[in-house]
């Protein structure tokens, strides 16, 4: 049988201690760019700004002037006292319909204060509040490309860990590992004021109890091995689950990376908007000692090649969910059980008998290639 495994591209969740990556931040066409090429930015620095009144979340109030004044044809031109762009105060007259007789005099007053931004179809639209909307860098690095109205590319150098699931937006804080061991379980008692404003790392499951404690003490974000299902779609603070849902332990590769970075400033990115477009939830720990111009930057890890022997991988489905290991053989092998008999897979040498077992067990198991992901 020909060795066809060379064509098997595996999904990727990067877990690298040092990488040079380019993060593209997509910006709306009407956004003003605030940075320039070669400028260094921090994660919370605004890189673009939607001017007041240009965002989609403006505070607007529509006044049905034509309806209030019973105007035929809803034509406002004969009655308006204000024009587009005028500021108005609450209670101020916007328009008046007058006639020869006193009782035909009818004013229409602004129910709110603000600025008139539109007059159409008999309606007057008052903008009651407006604020510029800042688009943050979300990663610390150096701006390498600016395409006005489209995107800003930031070169990032440092550690990077991609999660299976993330939600809640952006968090910046000091990375804090709850315990030195990869199979420790975090309990609410460990979440004290000492972890305020940190990004808390727990290798186990982030339960509702843990998350609520974290919110109470002001934890900035959580990176956990897994997330309790009752928090699916409803986590009250930024959270990343590296393996998924349920009671999965964080793969030891990922935990060891984060443990080694404990005490460093990290950025947790799990946004819901379109500016992150397609990238997974990620933890970034910028390496301040390096810059794009220094020699010796490690070569960009490339994940666009098929699997090879020696690749670090992690299994994603039972019975080996969360187990890290290495591809030991790229010759395709068929599964041997009634369930897997028709599938093709790879031999994987797992690091140990369990994802967090520190003792090397050198277990070689067959895993369908679709159930593996590369982890750097």
């Amino acid at each position: 049988m020909p060795d066809l495994a060379a064509e098997w591209l595996l999904p990727v969740r990067r877990c690298v201690s040092h990488i040079e990556d380019v993060v593209v931040r997509h910006i709306p066409p009407s956004a003003e760019v605030l940075v320039q090429v070669d400028e260094r930015v921090s994660a919370t620095q605004p890189i673009a700004r939607l001017a007041a009144g240009r965002g989609t979340d403006r505070q607007l109030h529509v006044v049905d002037v034509a309806g209030a004044l019973e105007l035929p044809g809803r034509d406002l031109s004969p009655v308006m006292l204000k024009r587009r762009g005028d500021a108005v105060q609450a209670g101020e007259m916007l328009a008046v319909r007058s006639g020869r007789l006193p009782f035909l005099y009818r004013p229409c007053r602004a129910p709110v204060g603000g600025r008139i931004v539109a007059m159409t179809h008999g309606w007057v639209v008052i903008e009651t509040a407006n604020a510029a909307l800042d688009i943050l860098a979300m990663v610390a690095g150096q701006v390498v490309e600016v395409t006005a109205g489209r995107s800003i590319a930031i070169q990032y150098v440092g550690a990077l860990l991609e999660g299976a699931y993330g939600a809640g937006g952006l968090a910046v804080g000091t990375l804090y590992c709850s315990d030195g061991t990869a199979n420790a379980a975090l309990s609410p008692e460990h979440i004290t004021e000492a972890v305020h404003a940190t990004i808390l790392v727990t290798p186990g499951c982030a339960t509702r109890e843990i998350v609520e404690c974290a919110v109470t003490v002001g934890v900035a974000g959580i990176v956990a091995g897994s997330l309790s299902v009752d928090l699916a779609g409803a986590a009250p603070l930024p959270v990343i689950a590296t393996e998924g849902y349920g009671r999965l332990q964080m793969a030891v590769d990922r935990f060891n990376l984060l443990r080694g970075l404990s005490g460093r400033e990290a950025t947790l990115v799990a946004p819901a908007d379109d500016t992150w477009r397609g990238r997974p939830a990620t933890v970034f720990v910028a390496d301040a000692a390096h810059s794009a111009d220094e020699d010796g930057i490690p070569a960009q890890q490339r994940f666009d090649r098929p699997a090879r022997a020696g690749d670090r991988v992690c299994a994603v489905r039972a019975p080996f969910a969360g187990w890290p290991g290495q591809v030991s053989n790229t010759r395709p092998v068929a599964g041997q059980t009634p369930i897997t008999g028709g599938l093709q897979g790879l031999q994987v040498r797992f690091d140990s008998n369990a994802p967090t077992d520190p003792e090397p067990g050198a277990q070689v198991q067959w895993v369908p290639w679709l159930n593996l992901e590369r982890i750097g």
Binding site: L50, G244, F303, R317, A318, L343, Q344
Partner: protein, 605 residues
């Protein structure tokens, strides 16, 4: 230019990309080889072409010839030395569905018809707003707030019959125009107007300079007539020309095909409709995908007494934003978990079941390695199909009387045993009478509809020869059954003259062996009160049947299907039915189960 001799067909799904080679073998088009890869339009690759090239390279190694050159460009046309292909067809469902807000006058006429049009297109309804929803909806502030909250990409305006209501429709237009006017240009949704046709000029005027307007024929030209297809076609075109083209790398793939990328759901629907018309059968096809499930019907029996669809009725294809991969969370948001786990012989703890399914959503390309995981996924598949059926009904083919059931989608076609697929179709569709069951094991059924657009004969030849694996014949009785009491007496006469008779009690699933290619004649005598597909309880019927991987599967559990009530009886019954189907002759052939290159039925000469 003559007929293309060889065709490269690429189906780029939301999770997996399948590339297949169709070539002329002994004068006929045959499916020759297939390659697969994960879809690469997402990070870190962000280029759909990478996955396609991996699939192509796999095919190259199987057939021993080059299809692309050193720069990754398709060799076209086929060269004298044999390298290359004559044509390329691309279908895709890789883009996210269009987020659509429906806006209309009332909820009882135009809006349901608009929803019907949406259901046949790759869309996700994110809001439905009506003028008659109450006094609050007379206030434009309510509309603005609602629209800003749902942030649609497309707003569909319907309302008024042709020549009917005008002012309320004009008011609707003004409200949406106001919303658009207050947004920056790049954030304005596309507006599709499909209301009172006499007001189309007014719509053009209302949206002049404040956004893109597309116009389709009125979905309700009169109260009695629904005309959903033009709106569906408009949304399909938008999806094809905009949403699919935004998929990273797709424009380069369009160069390969020298034609627009076809929408996968539309292509599948065309195939099902074609099969129904060509073979004069009532056909239902279900393509269970990772992000979306497509249900298509082809009504081919003009004289069956069933309503024959017109070209204006787009109800023959419906798409649900639910799947067994990327859209698992959407499915679980609509389907209570208990409805899923009721199909399991061993019911897992709810949080374990939910976590398993949600994790499948995080790793949509992954496959079940354990029986428990497999059964859970297939249970979800059942409920997704049942949920679609419940909303769709079966406007063309009442009561589940289908002659042919076609299944597509990896979760079923790659199941380790044909019995799993049969069980899902029986439980999900509840067919009545005699139905043939076929599976798209080649993985190209979804694309054959698009192939037919450029080479109908090639599509026909592949359909007839290679596309489907016949599992056998299903025989199902409708009506209330009493478990243990005789429900059906049948007599089977095979082509070689052997006759066997059987009396089957109610509440069972039975497999009668009949090998692939073998035919037989069935005499069916249902018990009083049960219908074997003739539309009248207790009336006997005869049928010519065909064997397959499973043979003849007889289902006397009755319709509508009612699972046993008692806890112990319920799980035991599920186990027994599944064991019966798994004990048949039906392991999938190894070459069709492989999830990499497959050598097809023949090699090209």
């Amino acid at each position: 230019m003559g007929r293309p001799g060889s065709l490269l067909v690429a189906d780029i799904g939301s999770t997996m990309t399948t590339v297949a080679l169709i070539d002329r073998v002994a004068g006929q088009h045959r499916f020759v080889a297939r390659g697969e890869a994960i879809s690469t339009h997402v990070a870190p690759w962000s280029d759909v072409l990478l996955g396609v090239l991996l699939g192509v390279r796999t095919i190259e190694r199987v057939v021993g010839r080059a299809l692309v050159d050193g720069r990754g460009s398709l060799l076209r046309p086929r060269q004298a030395a044999g390298d290359g292909v004559d044509g390329c067809v691309v279908v895709s469902s890789a883009a996210t569905p269009i987020r659509v807000a429906l806006v209309g006058l009332t909820r009882d006429v135009s809006l349901p018809r608009a929803r019907q049009a949406l259901a046949a297109a790759p869309t996700r309804e994110v809001g439905c707003l009506a003028l008659d929803d109450g006094m609050l909806w007379r206030d434009p502030n309510t509309w603005l707030r609602a629209l800003r909250e749902i942030q649609p990409e497309v707003v569909v305006i319907v309302g008024g019959t042709d020549g009917g209501a005008t002012q309320p429709v004009l008011d609707l237009m003004s409200l949406i125009a106001l919303h658009n006017r207050l947004l920056p240009p790049e954030a304005r949704p596309v507006v599709c107007y499909a209301g009172n046709a006499h007001l189309a000029p007014a719509a053009a005027q209302a949206f002049a300079g404040i956004g893109e307007l597309r116009t389709a024929a009125n979905v309700s030209p009169s109260l009695a007539v629904a005309n959903c297809r033009p709106l569906t076609a408009l949304l399909d075109t938008l999806y094809r020309d905009r949403w699919l083209m935004r998929v990273p790398g797709m424009p380069r793939l369009v160069e390969w095909a020298a034609a627009p990328v076809a929408v996968a759901a539309r292509s599948f629907g065309q195939l099902i409709r074609y099969v129904g018309e060509r073979y004069r059968l009532n056909v239902i096809g279900i393509d269970m995908g990772s992000a979306r499930t497509v249900r298509a019907e082809g009504v081919g029996k003009a004289d069956s007494g069933h309503h024959r669809r017109t070209d204006n009725d787009s109800a023959s294809v419906t798409c649900a934003d639910m799947g067994v991969g990327l859209s698992v969370s959407q499915a679980l948001a609509r389907i209570p978990l208990e409805r899923v786990t009721r199909w399991l012989p061993d019911e897992p703890a709810p949080d374990i079941a939910r976590a398993t399914l949600l994790n499948k959503g995080l790793h949509p390309q992954s496959v079940s390695q354990t029986q428990a995981d497999l059964l859970l996924e297939l249970a979800l598949a059942r409920e997704i199909i049942r949920e679609m059926n419940a909303h769709q009904g079966s406007a063309g083919v009442p009561g589940g009387h289908w002659d042919l059931i076609i299944g597509a989608g990896r979760s079923l076609t790659r199941a380790p045993h044909a019995g799993y697929a049969a069980m899902v179709w029986l439980d999900a569709l509840e067919p009545v009478g005699v139905s043939k069951l076929a599976l798209d094991v080649s993985g190209v059924a979804g694309a054959l509809g698009a192939v037919a657009a450029s080479d109908p004969l090639a599509a026909v030849e592949v359909v007839e020869q290679d596309a489907f694996l016949t599992l056998g014949t299903l025989v199902s009785v409708a009506g209330p059954v009493t478990p243990g009491r005789p429900a059906l007496r049948l007599s089977l006469r095979t082509a070689d003259g052997r006759v066997s008779e059987d009396e089957i009690a109610g509440g069972v699933v039975r497999v009668i062996p009949l090998a692939p290619g073998q035919t037989a004649y069935l005499d069916l005598h249902p018990a009083r009160g049960l219908d074997v597909g003739v539309g009248q309880p207790g009336v006997s019927a005869t049928a010519d049947v065909e064997g397959g991987r499973l043979g003849i599967v007889v289902d006397t559990r009755g319709r509508p299907l009612v699972l046993p009530a008692a806890e112990a009886g319920h799980r035991r019954a599920l186990e027994g039915w599944l064991e019966t189907l798994l004990g048949g002759r039906g392991p999938m052939p190894a070459e069709t189960m492989a999830d990499h290159a497959t050598a097809g039925a023949a090699c090209p000469t």
